[in-house]
């Protein structure tokens, strides 16, 4: 799956452009002159040690936090100093899966997924019902859970329903923060298949923060390693693992990494 798609995408403008990004909390510098480009139709994985600023970078790409310096463009439009209406229109074109799911706790599962559709005010309830059921099927949630409240769901179910909600408006770009944390291996596998099929069907672009090597290896076209306050290396897996840096070596080439990349689960010793 890690086939390079450079030939078909090189000509198209990048979906996300991060230029000279600085982030500073007090005098703690998180990002120092960070640059990143995400090409359309690709799955980009963001990896890095705990506290290396992955979530912060993701929130900045979403326009939830302002960088100290530097600019971020999504769909070619800068997020800073842009009319609010324009930013709102961009936000309709992406979907976000938050680390904790962020389902609306006062709404049922059904209403959570239906909410973005209802906001458009063009579809009738009959249509919305079918669309919600379709999305539930897509993320492997049985339909009888549709009328439950988020507080009555398991952590993994919350994740998958949040994914369904993120997908319901057919986004061109989707942000995933730890999509497979809390999912059992079977479900992780079907998550990988779902993202893969959506990418093929819709040309979806994916920005994913993950620590799950199996998922990263299975999905990513490119991997950005965040370390030392910048993007240490950005490229396909084969390129990334050549870098001689303790984090990269431990992450990809440690025992766990070897197992994931060889594609066979070694028996636990």
């Amino acid at each position: 799956m890690t086939t390079s798609t450079t030939s078909e995408t090189a000509a198209r403008p990048p979906i996300i452009e991060v230029d000279g990004l600085w982030t500073q909390f007090g005098d703690h510098v998180v990002h120092r002159d960070l640059n990143l480009r995400v090409q359309p139709g690709e799955v980009m994985s963001l990896v890095g040690g705990s506290g290396s600023g992955k979530t912060t970078l993701l929130r900045q790409m979403l326009g939830l936090e302002k960088p100290t310096r530097g600019g971020i463009k999504v769909f070619g439009i800068p997020l800073q100093n842009t009319p609010r209406e324009m930013v709102r229109r961009i936000r309709r074109r992406w979907g976000v899966l938050f680390q904790e799911g962020a389902l609306y706790s006062a709404l049922t599962v059904f209403d959570n997924i239906a909410l973005p559709l209802r906001e458009l005010r063009v579809f009738d309830e009959d249509y919305i019902h079918d669309m919600v059921m379709l999305k539930l099927d897509m993320v492997d949630i049985e339909r009888r859970h549709a009328w439950k409240n988020p507080s009555d769901l398991s952590g993994g179910m919350v994740k998958r329903i949040a994914l369904a909600r993120a997908l319901v408006l057919e986004p061109e770009l989707i942000f995933l923060d730890e999509p497979t944390a809390g999912l059992d291996p079977d479900r992780s596998e079907s998550f990988v298949n779902l993202i893969r099929s959506l990418r093929e069907k819709l040309g979806l672009t994916v920005v994913m923060v993950s620590h799950d090597l199996d998922t990263i290896v299975a999905l990513s076209h490119r991997i950005a390693v965040l370390a030392e306050q910048r993007v240490l290396v950005y490229g396909p897996l084969a390129e990334v693992i050549k870098v001689d840096h303790p984090f990269v070596q431990n992450f990809f080439l440690g025992e766990r990494g070897q197992r994931a990349m060889s594609g066979v689960a070694a028996p636990p010793t």
Partner: protein, 387 residues
């Protein structure tokens, strides 16, 4: 849409992306060609129109469908077309192979799951639930009190382990920070009460009784109740919301599994803090209210402030002060216990947080007023100066 049902509009070139449209090609057999982008971006403005057009088209039986000129398709568009087809794939459909997958999952109906229907027994059950809820809350509060009593006894044996820091923080939050608002409200009430009474007293020439009315009224009754209502709204709601959020974020469970009983850590300090601060606040509010009343009386009735102050001890026996302060201790504990009880009962969702905070304030004010009535009955022959 003039072009829609006109004959044979050529399919658009692939380079540009067009608005979605339905074209009719006169038969026989009658054929419909869909063109343009059938995805959310294009459809969100035209879905209603297209649905109507598709419906008319689909009502023709035996027609052919040509989707091969659709430039873009997603699940939203596919489902729209599928609905027009009455959830069945017609016999004659042509579409691009890459669009087939969007229709692939649609013909597995899956069991239909309808929203729970409206239940006509709901009002009756709601009433029943409220009655049971009342007893439930009563039992809950008594249990909480019992648990607290046990915890207090245990704590008294090891006083150094007590939650003194929390108590001190609670006194600051519920007392010190409430000084301004209670003084402001108290002063205004004193002034207003004094003005209104003056009008009546002037008519009877009983000017000097303003001291009795304000003294007894404020010290014994209005000061404590007014203060308790303010504190219930201010600190009671805050306590409920705090504990509620801790429930939502599982902090309460985290405390429990560490073997720290939350009655000791969270409930007890708040109860102690409020039963210390409320009597003090009552003294403070009553004093300010009396000053306001005295100033207004000087203005309206010509009774000087010094006259007012000298007359006060005679008009209001000192035991009234004790009753006022005693009420403060009871009301404070009551507000804190009720607020904690509702806070601990909040379900982990935002709706319940809002509802719980509201009921907490309503319940604590109600219980304060009931307790006040009980005080009035118990002390009906204590501290009223008879002329």
């Amino acid at each position: 849409m003039s072009q829609t049902h006109t004959a044979s509009t050529p399919a658009p070139t692939a380079a540009q992306v067009d608005d979605p449209a339905v074209h009719a090609l006169p038969g026989p057999p009658l054929a419909f060609t869909l063109t343009g982008a059938w995805d959310i971006r294009a459809l969100q403005h035209r879905a209603r129109l297209l649905r109507a057009e598709l419906k008319i088209a689909a009502s023709t039986s035996g027609c052919h469908w040509d989707l091969s000129s659709v430039q873009r398709l997603d699940h939203i568009g596919a489902l729209l077309i599928w609905h027009a087809w009455d959830r069945r794939r017609p016999a004659n459909v042509r579409m691009r192979p890459e669009h087939e997958p969007f229709f692939a999952n649609l013909d597995q109906p899956g069991e239909a799951v309808a929203a729970p229907a409206f239940d006509f027994t709901r009002p009756a059950r709601a009433l029943g639930r409220q009655v049971i809820g009342f007893f439930d809350h009563t039992v809950g509060i008594i249990t909480l009190l019992g648990q607290m009593a046990i915890d207090t006894l245990r704590m008294l044996r090891h006083p150094t382990l007590g939650p003194w820091r929390e108590v001190s923080a609670g006194i600051y939050r519920t007392g010190t920070q409430a000084l301004a608002i209670t003084a402001g409200v108290g002063f205004l009430i004193g002034v207003v009460l004094s003005y209104l009474s003056s009008e009546q007293l002037k008519a009877f020439g009983a000017n000097v009784f303003i001291i009795n009315i304000l003294g007894i009224g404020l010290i014994r009754e209005l000061g404590p109740v007014l203060c308790a209502v303010l504190v219930a709204g201010r600190s009671g709601s805050a306590i409920t919301a705090q504990l509620g959020v801790m429930r939502v974020t599982e902090e309460l469970d985290a405390l429990s599994v560490m073997g720290i009983p939350y009655t000791v850590r969270l409930v007890l300090p708040r109860v102690i803090a409020l039963s210390i601060t409320l009597p003090l606040l009552i003294l403070w509010t009553t004093t300010v209210a009396l000053i306001g009343g005295a100033l207004a009386a000087e203005h309206e009735l010509g009774i000087t402030v010094s006259q007012f102050l000298t007359g006060l001890p005679a008009a209001v026996p000192a035991v009234n002060l004790a009753i006022g302060v005693g009420k403060g201790v009871v009301f404070g504990a009551l507000i804190a216990v009720v607020a904690c009880h509702f806070g601990l009962r909040i379900q982990p969702n935002t709706e319940s947080l809002g509802a719980g905070t509201t009921s907490s304030v309503v319940a604590s004010i109600t219980s304060v007023i009931i307790a006040d009535a009980a005080f009035a009955i118990l002390f009906h022959d204590v501290g009223i100066a008879l002329m």
